[in-house]
């Protein structure tokens, strides 16, 4: 019989806003949402570098890094990130990204492809609800079969 949530150790996530980006509101809401969904959230906040994400992930034994980028520079800010994760020993860590990740309104298929190319496992268009990422995390981390209950968020 699978253990009940609360008795199990929570899965850790690192969240933050990458680069020279200061958009703080969505980040505060994501922290709330992922926490309520039952994750241990390490929020490194705005203006965070790749290095800060990776260090926080190592320290907290996180299984996923959730990058937010609202201001349009994500492509530049994220280049080489997957490589650096591997170099740091985070071989299998999940990399998600969402927000307004490119400059301007662009064809989504192309944007998604570019970020997949950069090594992201999941790429989300503007205004995606946190619940979508929560659902995907549960799937990608096979949480159901490991007995994690669905925390749910709004």
């Amino acid at each position: 019989m699978p253990a009940r949530q609360g008795e199990m150790e929570k899965i850790a996530l690192v969240i933050g806003v990458i680069g020279a980006d200061v958009h703080a509101i969505g980040n505060k809401i994501l922290e709330d949402a992922f926490s309520q969904a039952g994750f241990k959230v390490v929020n490194i906040g705005v203006l965070s570098s790749q290095k800060e994400f990776i260090q926080a992930a190592i320290k907290s034994k996180a299984q996923a890094i959730i990058v937010s980028s609202l201001y349009g520079h994500a492509e530049m800010d994220c280049s080489g990130m997957r490589q650096r994760c591997i170099e740091a020993g985070l071989d299998n860590i999940l990399l998600y990204i969402g927000g307004n990740i490119v400059v301007g309104k662009q064809r989504w298929e192309e944007v998604e492809a570019r970020f997949k190319e950069l090594g992201f496992d999941r790429v989300y268009p503007p205004g995606t609800s946190p619940s979508k990422a929560i659902k995907d995390l549960r799937e990608d981390l096979k949480m159901e079969s490991k007995g994690y209950k669905n925390g749910g968020w709004r």
Binding site: L47, M76, P126
Partner: protein
């Protein structure tokens, strides 16, 4: 170089010392030649000089419209601005990219190169520092109305030097409004001191006959900021600027969404600023207001977004702001195209023009709201002045430390961040958690009662969930984030 911060005019000697450092911090700094710049300013036609246009407009009761826009490449930036001018923009912007705002000029350089290579703007604004004086000046030379630098830069000294030398006559920002919402680790000592430099530079131009306008960034985090908090910040920045010799200030304010509150906010802003400027003995300062259309999350759907833009234009017009900063229908998606930006200008112009001859407000409700905003702002500012023993710079720093000034949702760690705003039943922004704001019992009670009214109507407790609902509300087509009503809303 660290200095103790006081609200005292920067001595010329120290200013010059710092100046050397500033101009040497990036190669283009060496292009700045003040004599040449002053001469250029002297020859600007009147219509291109922001404070002159603002003064005239204020007298005539004009409501000006200004978009926001910045792209990586100069030629494109110029094309953009020209098309805005044609579309009726009264003031033009040059919005600076985020790397430059953080003084990360190497990354900005990379952004320029990438943009050229990929043929699309990889930067979310115009990298004015990397461009330097002469390239920036091309912008001034290709347009016919005043152009303002809009950014979000805690340390904007080099940016100010370069763009003012290039002939820009309007410069947004301030030691608080361009730090607390725009940085994480920068102290107010540092940013205020850096902005004293910027203000002193403007003062210096002023003394040499070249007037430049300074504008506070009223909207702050753009998200449910109550008027008294942003008014306090704007007025502090006006006082700081005045001390350095600035003679033309625009006070910014970001639409909250409730019409009475927004009209009351603009009407109280000028009179409060006059009150405090004259209390401190600053005279002959031109005070104008800028009304920002809704600065929080937008609906993705373009029709809905134009509804939001229009509502901003209505509120700004009825409030009789001197300038309305327009948004675009792409707001929720990404940096707008030229077309989207032009449509924002035109929607706004249409409404401004249709409303300019109309007077419409509920005297009682408005007066009550004005009274509240004024009283709150005075509570805050008096506390600041008291703490600083009359020195507004010192007082500000201490007040932020205690949370007597506190900006909701700001990322900066020198902001206490206890204040939690929420809408009342009519959509006015009130305080769910007043944090340490130095308000009277009566005011705190007023907020409580207003919020209770809503809680009752919605049959739930006022809580963080209510705040979150409000943050999403306009993006979802509402003003007040009511508990989910089942209205099936489709984008």
């Amino acid at each position: 170089m660290k200095r103790a911060v006081h609200n005292k005019r920067l001595e010329q000697k120290i200013f010059k010392e710092i100046r050397k450092e500033v101009l040497n911090s990036w190669p283009t700094g060496r292009q700045v030649n003040l004599k040449e710049a002053i001469n250029f300013h002297h020859h600007l036609p009147e219509g291109k000089v922001s404070p002159k246009k603002l003064a005239k407009g204020k007298e005539k009761g004009d409501i000006f419209v200004q978009p926001r826009a910045g792209v990586a490449l100069r030629e494109e930036q110029i094309t953009l601005l020209r098309s805005f001018e044609k579309a009726g923009a009264d003031f033009l912007p040059t919005t600076i990219d985020s790397y430059t705002r953080q003084n990360r000029y190497e990354e900005a350089e990379l952004g320029i190169l990438e943009s050229k290579k990929l043929g699309r703007s990889m930067l979310n604004g115009y990298p004015a520092v990397n461009e330097g004086v002469w390239k920036c000046r091309e912008i001034i030379e290709s347009t016919k109305v005043p152009v303002e630098i809009r950014h979000g830069t805690p340390d904007a000294r080099l940016l100010a030097e370069i763009t003012m030398a290039a002939g820009f006559t309007d410069f947004e920002g301030g030691g608080i409004s361009y730090n607390i919402p725009y940085s994480k680790n920068i102290s107010l000592e540092e940013s205020i001191s850096n902005w004293q430099y910027v203000d002193r530079l403007v003062g210096w131009y002023q003394e040499n006959g070249a007037i430049i306008n300074r504008e506070s960034f009223g909207p702050l985090t753009g998200t449910l900021v109550p008027p008294s908090i942003s008014h306090s910040v704007s007025i502090i920045e006006a006082l700081l600027a005045a001390e350095q010799g600035v003679k033309s200030v625009t006070l910014g304010y970001g639409q909250c969404g409730n019409l009475v509150q927004d009209v009351a906010a603009i009407r109280s802003l000028t009179s409060l600023a006059e009150e405090f400027l004259s209390d401190f003995g600053y005279r002959n300062i031109l005070i104008t207001t800028a009304f920002h259309q809704w600065m929080g999350g937008f609906p993705k759907n373009e029709a809905r977004a134009s509804g939001v833009i229009s509502w901003g234009a209505v509120a700004g017009s009825l409030a009789k702001a001197n300038k309305i900063i327009s948004k675009t229908v792409h707001e929720a998606l990404g940096v707008p195209t030229k077309e989207a930006n032009i449509s924002g200008i035109k929607i706004t112009k249409q409404i401004v023009n249709m409303l300019k001859d109309q007077e419409f407000f509920s005297r009682e409700a408005l007066e009550e709201e004005i009274r509240i905003i004024k009283e709150e702002t005075r509570c805050i500012l008096k506390k600041v002045i008291e703490l600083g023993k009359g020195d507004i710079a010192i007082g500000t720093i201490l007040a932020f430390k205690e949370g007597f000034v506190d900006i909701p949702f700001a990322p900066n760690r020198f902001n206490v961040g206890k204040v939690l705003p929420v809408r009342d039943n009519n959509g006015a922004v009130r305080l769910l958690n007043p944090g340490n704001l130095p308000f009277t019992k009566e005011i705190l009670n007023f907020h409580r009662i207003k919020i209770e009214e809503r809680a009752k109507r919605e049959n739930r407790r006022a809580s963080l969930q209510m705040v979150i609902d409000d943050i999403y509300a306009i993006g979802k087509g509402m003003l007040v984030g009511r508990p989910r009503t089942g209205e099936s809303y489709e984008d």
